[in-house]
Symmetry: C2
Subunit: 588 residues, 2 copies
């Protein structure tokens, strides 16, 4: 039964997302005449003060001088491709839905025609134009609406593209240009209710269009949490998490998406795929459900899921540890993983990213000057850490006081073995907040001809350095070969620990002012970096998925027999290819 009290939303912040760019309208970075940078609003702890060190840091690291006088010109009148209309479908849809549940408004069509991949999507829509836009946007409000839309699309020969938070970064939301049918974006975000909470068994049945922040807000008011925190948690949706096989920062405690979802309801042209009995674990034969994680919109609409919820943890605290250099930090992470005492989240950032974090601080004043200097002396003089090699692990502890106490003890003991220095909770918290702010930084810098992108991959323990070296090497070589000015910013962080390896998340940026075709060249470089990652032992993706961006690497991971079997599955649930979004093995 629906627990109506859960469905309040009294967020004090402006929840309106930006058009095309990442995040919310209350938040943006801007540059002052003195080239200090400020973040508007009050959403993050980076907001509301001047950051004097950021631009000097970027100029120095990229070996360029950003030209703030001539920002990259935005496309004045974005071209929205002419709408293909399927009149029979539109007539039937008008009968099935309310009039405010669909629109062919150009702005909405453009908003729903891309995700957040930098060069293939955001750059295109901001500074150039998209090749193909969706022709209609639909907002279903119930499972019945979803079934009606899917059924009508199947009947009338229409293509559907599921749309969640719009945060996809594998070009999965791009419309295949060759699609000749009417293309409809199905925006799931009105299906954002918690339908029921089971407080004894600690599960909740939730509509798939709920965003992570809304979900956590509703649960928290009831003393609960889901605990799934991908970097996109403020905007991305439950359905999107399942479709991309998302990973959460705190997976050591709460699991990744496949661990915390007990049942998925998928509406396909062939009918509803779901389990009639859901449980944390069973043996009912082939579990088709497991194949829905990572389906990337190719099979149907995910409308709801049964998820795990937890009482809010007794303790939540941050921590950080500083190490001499990257190899020492990596060795610490491996040793800690073997202890079994894994904090909810532990991440290792390299020296460059560590210094990027430091560059976001305000100028110290008064007593803070002394404290800041004293800290610096301790770290660099007493402990002999080199500012240009030291790295940091940032930690989130959650759990009972006994659990957290044990984890802190083991982290401290393990850190000591590797000469680590406790860096305090503040540095830890800043590290996590940076996660949320980094995409705003990308969008701010994009206007000044800086392209930023991230690459994530799963890497066995013994390939970590090979993969990191490969990314660095290829990024440098490609930078020269393609004639970009200055030098690239490439920086890894280890974001997840697993039994046999880790997730590495690379941040890559460069300046392309004065060049022709910077975006296309960057995209070419990105493909070559991905090839190098895989050559060195990394996976095609840890959690972003394949989409269209990485389609050329599919044959490196799947045998032809596997591809054929998955295609047969698609054929069974969607014989007319209504869900022709064309991601992964279905990419053209």
């Amino acid at each position: 039964m629906a627990d109506k009290s859960l469905n309040r939303d009294t967020s004090a912040l402006d929840p309106t997302p930006w058009d095309h760019r990442w995040g919310f309208r209350d938040t943006k970075l801007f540059v002052h005449p003195d080239q200090s940078v400020e973040m508007t609003g009050s959403r993050y702890n980076l907001c509301g003060y001047r950051m004097p060190y950021l631009i000097p840091f970027i100029n120095r690291e990229l070996d360029v001088t950003i030209d703030f006088a001539t920002p990259r010109p935005l496309t004045a009148e974005p071209h929205v491709t002419p709408a293909t209309r399927n009149e029979a479908f539109l007539t039937a849809l008008t009968a099935a839905l309310e009039s405010d549940q669909f629109t062919d408004d150009d702005r909405e069509r453009l908003l729903h025609s891309h995700g957040q991949t930098t060069t293939e999507e955001v750059s295109r829509v901001l500074y150039e134009n998209l090749d193909r836009c969706v022709d209609l946007v639909v907002w279903p409000e119930s499972d019945e609406d979803c079934q009606a839309v899917v059924s009508l699309a199947d009947e009338h020969g229409v293509c559907l593209i599921p749309y969640g938070g719009g945060t996809n970064v594998s070009s999965a939301l791009l419309v295949p240009p060759a699609e000749t049918r009417m293309v409809v974006s199905v925006d799931m975000r009105r299906m954002d209710r918690i339908l029921s909470v089971d407080r004894t068994n600690l599960t909740a049945t939730v509509q798939a269009g709920i965003t992570g922040s809304h979900l956590e807000d509703l649960l928290e008011r009831n003393g609960l949490t889901c605990g799934h925190e991908p970097d996109s948690v403020e905007l991305s949706t439950l359905g999107g998490w399942i479709a991309t096989n998302a990973s959460g920062m705190k997976k050591n405690r709460y699991g990744n998406i496949e661990d915390l979802v007990e049942n998925v309801t998928l509406v396909t042209p062939g009918g509803v795929i779901e389990q009639r009995y859901s449980s944390p674990r069973q043996s009912p034969g082939v579990q088709l459900q497991k194949a829905l994680f990572g389906s990337e919109g190719n099979l149907g609409l995910i409308t709801r899921a049964v998820i795990h919820v937890h009482p809010l943890p007794e303790i939540k605290k941050y921590g950080s540890v500083i190490f001499r250099d990257w190899p020492t930090g990596v060795a610490f992470m491996e040793a800690l993983n073997r202890t079994g005492a894994r904090p909810a989240s532990i991440r290792l950032v390299d020296n460059l990213q560590f210094r990027l974090g430091q560059s976001l601080k305000p100028a110290p004043s008064g007593a803070k000057v002394l404290k800041s200097r004293a800290e610096q002396v301790l770290v660099t003089k007493v402990k002999r850490f080199e500012p240009r090699t030291m790295v940091a692990a940032t930690i989130v502890y959650e759990g009972t006081s006994a659990e957290v106490a044990l984890q802190e003890k083991v982290v401290a003991a393990t850190a000591r073995r590797f000469g680590g220095l406790q860096g305090g909770a503040g540095n830890g918290e800043r590290g996590y907040m940076l996660t949320y702010a980094i995409a705003y930084l990308r969008d701010f810098l994009a206007d000044y001809y800086i392209i930023g992108e991230t690459y994530e991959t799963t890497v066995p323990w013994d390939r970590i350095h090979d993969v990191c070296d490969a990314v660095q090497r290829v990024a440098n070589a490609e930078h020269r070969r393609l004639g970009f000015p200055g030098r690239p910013f490439t920086s890894p962080r280890i974001t997840q620990l697993y039994h046999s390896g880790v997730c590495i998340y690379f941040t890559h940026g460069l300046y392309h002012h004065g060049m022709e075709g910077g975006d296309e060249k960057f995209a070419e470089m990105e493909r070559n970096i991905r090839a190098a990652i895989m050559d060195a032992g990394g996976s095609i993706s840890h959690h972003h998925g394949v989409g269209k961006l990485r389609r050329s690497f599919v044959d490196r991971v799947a045998t032809p027999e596997t591809v054929a079997a998955v295609k047969s599955l698609k054929q069974a649930v969607d014989p007319k290819n209504v869900f022709a979004v064309g991601n992964n093995i279905f990419a053209g």
Copy 2:
């Protein structure tokens, strides 16, 4: 690369399995003239002493007097159904394999024509006859052998049934009687090598025919463990674990089979299904691999897998806690689960099973008499525990000393909240050893007209009592309705903890001397008990699978659309239905 040093086997015990019955030839129970019972050999800590209390306990609990004078007559000359021969296939097979790799010997055919389901398989083969036997047994020794066998079967119209340890208890190994083609059992147990061990990433590539005991033996010599311990671990195989979606006793530490396998190689008529890149976690699109867990022989031959291995734990110890009664024990389990400090294994046995365990003890002598009496006084007088209601949780701790210390502390603190009394390591260890011995007890008692079977199910926390009550109620009512003598033995234990519920494992036994059709009536009762379990909120299976035994319940768990999609998958990999073993949704 293969680590050859791993492939020694110097087991001091007789590894020969019994024909048709459970376990090894060095171990059996027999009754002395004074009706004390003894277990032969030295394999278990129950071996080599007289158990004077067992038969009185059984007689009392079943309210019967076992007649040891007239054991149930074994089938004198088991009927092996005439072999269907496909000469073209046999000619081709002779060319492809060595002559010692296949046989149509009647004994081998019979051995490979059943698993360990009590009434449908073991009773049939021991006391009656099977409806249909396999026509040939093949022992592949390599992936190439497997591909050859599958390819020839596909070409010549032969049916293949994969065979691992033969311990299946869902009638999955039974040959569909309507199969008119030649039926070949593919015994995987010669494929029992560890092909490579990766000590840095802590994985191993292992052939699927290795038994659990052999795997652990080889790993242990190298300071490693896989840690997967289903109750059948001595006999069952890696491939069988994957095919049934097996669960291990120590899953809190090592995970269930789906958690510890990173890659599965499945040889199908349509080709090889495997991942070209395996990792603990990735996002490569639809992961067909995940659908292989629970495939129950319907899709192909599992030939190898990449699994997790771990350094041997620093600490391994047993523990136990006694509680006043079952509801108190269940409440303790739920509270402990929420602490997050879950020992590698923790199980709760009800009072009846607790007393069954006690009935396996020797008669105390000398100082032990006093100790035993003192313990009894402490438990029953001082703590006022009723011998007829008290229950026990048995625990295996594994891990670092810090991990185990925390778990012990949390277990003790939580137990105190529920009035629990520490029962010592000995009781804990006995509980786990009983697990291995219980199937020998079934086979011993079967000869004296006692049928024993187990039912496992996943149950949400709030349905535990409903499900237990339903099993008790239906077992009692059916017992009377079907006219069995005495009364049934029905006893639950909670064997696994999960976020939203538990696995309950029921042991059910009864006496059927002097009745007609005891096995068939028991089977009818078993179906009605399963229906009652599911009506009360339990799953179709926690880890035994569906096989043929539970086929009538498939429509309670899978939508027709799900069934259709899985059938399309089968069609893609095995269009001629070579793997016509007919389990689960493919059952006739």
